[in-house]
Amino acid sequence: MGYGEITASKALALHFLCGVGLAAGYGIARLGCDLSLVADPARTLRLLLVVEGPVIIGIYGWVRRDREHCSMRFFSVFTGGDSIRRLLRGDCSDFPLILIPLVQCISSGLLSSGALLNAFGAIVLGAPVGLKYWLSTIYWSSLMSLFTFVPAVCVFGTSRTDWQRILAYSKPKEGVDCLISLPAQGAVIGAWLGAWPMPLDWERPWQEWPICVTYGAIAGYSVGMFASAVFVHVLGRKVHVKDD
């Protein structure tokens, strides 16, 4: 699959899967474990993370541009190997085997380096640093890293030119760039906007850190996903026009 050639339908499908993952995570938290973001933000965020993490890593690993550049072992589990396909077929016999590299991946620093950046941003912007909030902050920033940092790492690996391109150019010019940067930007902007109701004196439980910020981030992420699908569609048409 060539780089930059991603069709709108495929992008839409990708995002749909991401959204389904997110919704599934929330559904499991709500119905399965009787958790809600307002009552227990830390554990709910952890559950979201556990459900959404493999989905995003798997999906974006599949989009990944060149497998040679990828230095991280766990990609092979998800993309090279057929674990996912087996999992999709309902063969859950080696489920723990899949979980092991997942845990490895989380601990291997992929999430955590992105989470560090996100946590830095959040704390600098005023997130509380008390002991009470440590767990929530960690899980929230990991989730944000899943939205922003992880897809880019999955697709670009350690390719320096790609990283330079995506960081230096604010305007995405290729389909995959759109696919990665727009939802990420949406999530960040959504989280930023989500923080605004916090100082209001409504005394609602959801005004606590990180609940409304998470809601904002998820909303922004969804908008970003939709926008990126549209952008991919527009870009694709442009390319076709040029080709003609």
Partner: protein, 782 residues
């Protein structure tokens, strides 16, 4: 060049004109927003017992009488005998009526009931009469005291005078009491002494500025109780307890210290009540105990606004006349704080103060005869009529239509204007009163109670409407003045915008001659510029929510941090961009490359622009660090002081420091000051020029630094609040860092953001309660 200098002159004149217009508009707006209402000069005298006439000369009849003569004269004229001889006015600062009377139909919480057992027993046995005396904003002590003793509502500008208290010159209860020869004694808040400097026979003022003190401030009042209750010489004893307000300021409405403080107040009430009942037999010396609070408090313990919690103040009457009537527990009436003044005036046989807008409290005159009750209401009506005549010239004079006859009485629809309405209500009350009197004389007692009730109700109708109109009048704002102010300010804004646009055009054109590709610059910096604009708009919008005003420090910190995060992003991005352009070895002309560097604003990299690798550059690069430092220090500054209203109780660095003790504060102060001086000297060493001016600035800088150091070492730390100089130096570091982020287009806004974030970070807020007046009261130690 000649044309541009001409534009300069034009620009300057336009700008000056616009600024002058702005000042004009602002002053018009302020004059409109803080109206000065007409007040009646002088004091009520014997003439207040006669019906108001249309001729003001007749009213202004002044006679110098001795206090004894005046007292007997008042007694004769008023026909309402004074019910009590002595008054104990106990002011509990900041006590919400909810603590004593409960809210609405609900009784107070169990903890509150248990905290004030004696008061609650008085209330439940009907020996005390409680009212919700709704205070008018601004709910700060001095305007409220003025309202209670004069019955008038001051304008909002009274807040400004709260800190620079001036003598109360308007007609008021205390001066009226003094005129009839009363001896007045005051113990408590020194605001009373500032209001009435030479009126008290004995006084002991306590300062309300040591907000942390909740014990001594009340002990200094209570220690006089034994002596004063035994003494016979006073007629009015004012006790003003500040401790409860201080408890609120420290721990909020539901502070754990609150029940103990309420118990203390309850003990004082018990002591006074017990002490006063000893003299019960002597009617001249029968004592009325009035427990009032000047205002309530919010959940955070603050006050000043107009929320229910803040205006919910108490008026509790405990005395021999009150107890004889049935008075159910839950029937506490909502009245106005100003109603206390006329009630007390008539209960103690003095004229109602001239500017009073209050109405006699229902139920307080039930022990009087029917004739006396109506007479009291009549006196109150006459006083309000006089005040109405000051606001509405020729009121009740000349227009006979409304007094014409009985036909009009039933037709409410025909009453259109307020003036006619008040006129109608007054005439109805007067005719009902006269009708009742006629019946009394003629001996017809068939439906006596109905007539009396009708007369009283019609009086209250008039009084209520007149009082409401007058109080609205006090806060009414002349809309024309406000509108014209706003329009002038808008015009000035348009003028200034126009000037700025012209200036931009000029600059853009001249710049365009030198820069070949200005478009690219604007593209790269769009994020910042857009955010600056959006941030300003969002801030302006956020001020629409009152809690966003209360917690404005969060908004400023959020905006500042976001702006600096964007700086960080653009810096990194520009680094990558230059690296990428080098990496791809694109053959761009040399100017283009320098343009990129100008974008990144890195002057030092002009010399090192040939080193291409971004990672090594990142390490070398100085421009990332200031931004990071600002971000981190900004976060520390945010945690330095929990400002605002709702989250004041949360832990912050300044509280930690206070807990850590004075030694660590001093050490931190010295350390931060030295640090600050070090950074400053480093900055001076960077200055290339060696002119005299630089030397002078440097020496003055060091001199001031040393002076502050001396001050820190010498001063006793206990009087340095949480906003100490270490916090100041953090803010100054903030500013220094701001200087290094040189971004011409965004610089002004960045400075504004930083300045506001620093201002709020030092513990300031938009709440009146955080204005640190203590600084004005520091005296030199000798």
């Amino acid at each position: 060049m000649s044309s541009s200098s001409l534009t300069c002159g034009k620009l300057a004149s336009w700008t000056i004109a616009a600024v002058l217009l702005q000042i004009l508009g602002l002053s018009l707006f302020v004059i409109g927003f803080f109206p000065v209402k007409p007040t009646l000069p002088g004091f009520s005298g014997p003439e207040s017992y006669r019906a108001p006439t249309c001729d003001p000369v007749l009213d202004a009849e002044e006679r110098d009488l001795s206090s004894e003569k005046l007292r007997t004269l008042y007694k004769e004229l008023s026909k309402v005998p004074p019910s009590y001889g002595r008054l104990v006015l106990m002011v509990i600062d900041g006590l919400p009526a909810e603590f004593v009377l409960g809210r609405g139909d609900k009784p107070p919480t169990k903890a509150m009931m248990e905290a004030m057992p004696y008061t609650q027993s008085l209330l439940s046995s009907g020996k005390a009469r409680g009212y919700y005396a709704k205070a008018a904003p601004p709910t700060v002590t001095m305007p409220r005291l003025k309202a209670m003793v004069s019955g008038a509502i001051g304008g909002f500008l009274d807040v400004a005078f709260n800190f620079n208290t001036q003598v109360l010159l308007d007609d008021n209860l205390l001066d009226q009491f003094k005129r009839i020869g009363w001896e007045l004694v005051m113990h408590g808040d020194e605001t009373w002494i500032k209001l009435f400097p030479r009126i008290f026979t004995r006084q002991d003022g306590v300062s309300s500025f040591y907000v942390k003190d909740i014990v001594e401030v009340d002990f200094n009042v209570s220690r006089h109780l034994d002596v004063e209750l035994a003494a016979e010489d006073w007629n009015l004893l004012i006790l003003h307890y500040l401790g409860l307000d201080h408890v609120g300021h420290i721990g909020g409405r539901h502070s754990t210290l609150m029940p103990a403080k309420l118990k203390e107040m309850d003990d004082v009430i018990k002591m006074i009540h017990m002490g006063s009942t000893v003299h019960h037999q002597n009617p001249d010396a029968s004592t009325l105990l009035v427990v009032v609070s000047d205002h309530g408090m919010t959940n955070g313990g603050n006050h000043g606004g107009s929320s229910y919690e803040e205006t919910d103040s108490l008026a509790l009457f405990i005395g021999s006349g009150v107890e004889s009537l049935e008075f159910s527990m839950n029937a506490h009436k909502a009245v106005h704080q100003v109603d206390i003044a006329p009630t007390l005036a008539l209960l103690f046989g003095v004229p109602i103060p001239k500017n009073n807008i209050g109405v006699l409290l229902r139920g307080m005159f039930d022990t009087l005869t029917d004739e006396q009750r109506l007479r009291a209401l009549q006196l109150n009506s006459w006083q309000l009529l006089r005040l109405l005549q000051a606001h509405l010239p020729n009121f009740l004079c000349g227009d006979v239509t409304c007094i014409s006859g009985e036909d009009n009485l039933q037709t409410d629809q025909s009453i259109s204007s307020m003036k006619e309405n008040l006129c109608y209500l007054y005439s109805r009350a007067v005719s009902a009163h006269n009708a009742w009197l006629l019946r009394q004389i003629s001996g017809l007692t068939s439906n006596d109670a109905d007539d009396l009730g009708y007369a009283i109700d019609s009086y209250y109708d008039f009084l209520g409407n007149a009082s409401e109109w007058l109080s609205h009048r006090a806060t009414d704002k002349p809309i024309n003045l406000l509108l014209s102010g706003i329009v002038i300010m808008l015009i000035s804004c348009v003028l200034l915008l126009n000037t700025v646009l012209k200036l931009f055009k000029e600059v853009y054109i001249t710049e365009g001659k030198y820069c070949s590709q200005p478009k690219e610059i604007s593209q790269v910096w769009q994020v910042d510029e857009a955010f600056v604009l959006i941030g300003l708009v969002i801030h302006a919008l956020s001020l629409g929510a009152s809690s966003m005003v209360e917690e404005e420090q969060y908004t400023w910190h959020f905006l500042t941090s976001t702006l600096y995060l964007l700086f960080l992003l653009t810096t990194i991005r520009s680094l990558f961009k230059t690296a990428a352009s080098d990496f791809m070895k694109m053959k761009k002309p040399e100017e283009n490359l320098t343009l990129h560097l100008a974008v990144s604003n890195d002057e030092s990299s002009y010399t090192t622009n040939n080193r291409s690798l971004p990672w090594t550059k990142l390490q070398e690069n100085h421009q990332l660090y200031p931004v990071l430092v600002v971000l981190i220090f900004g976060r520390i500054l945010r945690g330095w002081h929990q400002g605002g209203i709702n989250w004041v109780h949360l832990p912050d660095i300044s509280k930690l420091l206070v807990q850590a003790g004075s030694f660590s504060i001093k050490a931190l102060q010295i350390f931060s000051l030295l640090n600050f001086m070090l950074v400053g000297s480093f900055a001076f060493s960077l200055v290339r020029s060696r002119t005299h001016f630089v030397h002078i600035v440097r020496t003055s800088y060091f001199m001031s630094g040393c002076l502050v150091l001396l001050h820190i070492i010498n001063s006793q730390t206990h009087n340095i609040g949480p906003t100490d100089s270490s916090a100041t130096s953090v803010a100054q570091l903030f500013y220094i860092c701001a200087g290094s982020a040189v971004l011409l287009t965004v610089l002004v806004v960045a400075m504004l953001f930083l300045g506001m974030a620093g201002h709020f970070g030092l513990g300031n807020s938009n709440s009146l309660a955080t204005i640190d007046v203590a600084g004005a009261f520091i005296v030199l130690e000798l």
